[in-house]
């Protein structure tokens, strides 16, 4: 299957269209996150990724097509790697040299409709409290931390986290019963 060129969204993103950036994000996040694996033992890749994506939004108007697909994704990869290296430099500079150099090619992956449909059916079978905890994280629009989310559900933080864990375990078991292995989700 041919990979998508996410630069189809670039003109709109460069024009300040946040909805277009959302569509780009939906396909770009996973390969970008994977590209940060090398740094996982030293930097919080979630923080680096979010900061990188904010910067990509800011510099997108200056992203010039170079004739190759996924120019903005490649730019984002470079931004993310540079931010991770900056974080590393602040900790222990000796590590950095090994991590610099040519960037590996990353590409957006298509969504597996079978996995998605199966996952949604499994989600609908979750017990009430794990489902509530999971939904609280999924649908929170106010960037609240877990303690605040737990409080809104009348749960202690530990109970909230236990329900998240239980929800994920139940989803994994349900997926496996339907022939979907978790590793298929991330590849």
């Amino acid at each position: 299957m041919a990979h998508r060129d996410l630069d189809e969204h670039l003109p709109a993103i460069a024009g300040g269209d946040a909805d277009a950036f959302a569509r780009w994000l939906a396909a770009a996040e996973a390969p970008l996150r994977r590209s940060l694996r090398t740094f996982a033992a030293n930097v919080d890749t979630e923080a680096v990724l979010q900061e990188s994506l904010l910067r990509v939004w800011q510099v997108a108007p200056r992203c010039e097509p170079d004739g190759r697909p996924n120019g903005l994704l490649r730019l984002a990869q470079r931004v993310a790697r540079n931010l991770a290296i900056d974080a590393l430099r602040r900790q222990r500079a000796a590590h950095v040299e090994l991590l610099e150099g040519d960037l590996p090619t990353i590409e957006p992956q298509p969504v597996d409709e079978h996995v998605r449909d199966t996952l949604r059916r499994c989600r609908n079978k979750l017990p009430e409290r794990p489902a509530q905890a999971l939904d609280a994280r999924l649908h929170d629009r106010e960037l609240r931390n877990d303690r605040e989310l737990a409080s809104a559900l009348d749960m202690q933080l530990n109970t909230f986290l236990q329900n998240i864990t239980r929800a994920r375990r139940l989803l994994a078991e349900c997926l496996q019963r339907h022939g979907v292995q978790l590793k298929e989700v991330t590849t």
Binding site: D44, W57, L161
Partner: protein
């Protein structure tokens, strides 16, 4: 650290919420600092998996990471 304590730290850090510094930049989750190297790698793997699950469950295909970024962009 017991396996249960490690798993608890990983669970805490899988949220998309991250503290900000005085300049508004994002900092590591507090639980990240308490994990050893293997625990941090396990956290990254868990984040890869959870964000994919979130995106698959979302009508717009967006994870909580993407939602957090868009929230900051849109204000």
């Amino acid at each position: 650290m017991t396996p249960a304590e490690r798993d608890d730290l990983i669970e805490r850090a899988t949220t998309a919420w991250r503290p900000r510094d005085l300049d508004g930049g994002l900092r590591a989750h507090p639980a990240f600092h308490d994990l050893d190297d293997d625990g941090r790698r396990a956290l990254h793997e868990e984040l890869e998996l959870q964000r994919r699950l979130e995106a698959l469950l979302d009508d717009d295909g967006l994870s909580t990471t993407a939602r957090a970024v868009l929230r900051r962009i849109r204000g």
